[in-house]
């Protein structure tokens, strides 16, 4: 082999190696932008009542990706912002958005009656569903999804706030808990990850 041929051969091998690296990159699955919690053994189901009075479990939404958010309607700031982001993400998905279900579980069933939820939740998106239950049913659901919440002591006027985890859980169309989206996740990240999941 001449020197020139050897150089060409080495260059060729280098290009082949580069091509292999590039193709393996292309094959690598795209990463989620929010936290991937695939495989956790909690957050498998809930048993609650929707804002029309119908009993609901997670299985009712099989075939759709579910965005599950816990909050309360007396939260003036964070909860409406998060629900509005969820609604914008569904709208941005266009046709795919029909395969995404937004769910709002109240951590304040005492004040958030079925009637209040029926007004509040669909105002963000007509397809969104509000869920509530007895105090113990809500507490059980929060525990199953590792959602911290704590009602604070009422003030002189009887008003109270509720500390709560302000995150969105995403369940895939097969009913498996897959993603944890922090409350400050932006709409672009939510849309990206839902697309990937669908």
């Amino acid at each position: 082999m001449t020197d020139r041929r050897r150089r060409l051969a080495i260059r060729g091998a280098g290009l082949t190696a580069l091509a292999l690296v590039l193709s393996s990159c292309a094959r690598k699955p795209e990463r989620f932008l929010t936290t991937d919690i695939t495989g956790v053994d909690w957050g498998r189901d809930f048993r609650l009542t929707d804002h029309t009075g119908m009993p609901r479990t997670l299985a009712d939404f099989r075939g759709k990706a579910v965005m599950l958010f816990f909050g309360y309607t007396h939260c003036p700031d964070q909860c409406p912002t998060t629900l509005a982001k969820m609604a914008r993400a569904v709208d941005r998905l266009g046709e795919d958005g029909k395969r995404v279900q937004g769910l709002f579980v109240t951590v304040d069933p005492k004040r958030d009656t079925q009637d209040i939820l029926a007004q509040y939740v669909p105002a963000f998106h007509p397809g969104f569903i509000g869920l509530r239950g007895s105090e113990s049913e809500v507490a059980q659901t929060a525990q199953d999804f590792k959602v911290f919440f704590a009602r604070q002591r009422p003030d002189a006027s009887g008003f109270y706030t509720v500390d709560h985890l302000a995150a969105i859980f995403v369940i895939d169309p097969q009913g498996r808990l897959r993603l944890y989206m922090k409350g400050d996740s932006d709409v672009d990240a939510i849309v990206h990850d839902l697309k990937l999941l669908l």
Binding site: P76, A123, S157, T161, G183, V187
Partner: protein, 155 residues
Amino acid sequence: MQKAGFTRSLFGIAAFAAASALAGGALQVRDARAIATVPGQSVAAVYMTIASPSAARIVSAKSDAAESVQIHVMSMQDGIMRMRRLDVLDLPAGREIRLAPGGTHLMLAGLKHPLRAGGAVELSLAVVGADGERRVVRLNLPVVDARLGQAGHHD
């Protein structure tokens, strides 16, 4: 020099016209707004940027539109949203205090009627200065859609 000063104070009057004459022009308020309610919502957030040239504190607030007006501070830690009521809101001399989403805000609690974007809501702030004198600042807040009130959330 004098003219520049005059122009500046005129600008000041225009920019902070929302603060009433009762405050003696002392309290500077801008971008004051109430956020339109969602159906079923009985509370509404109020945001503004507020500054007092001399140390003062807001000791109470009230509105005809709500049963009570509370000063709230919101925080996020480890994903947990916490909201706590403050008894007073301190206004250190000359410092701008921002009441903004994700932080301190005033909350109209027990709304007597829904707040619709394009409407207005009246708010009175009771302010006590370093001299111990109590003044009432009356504001007329525009009601805005949440999306318009928050930069960077336009789609």
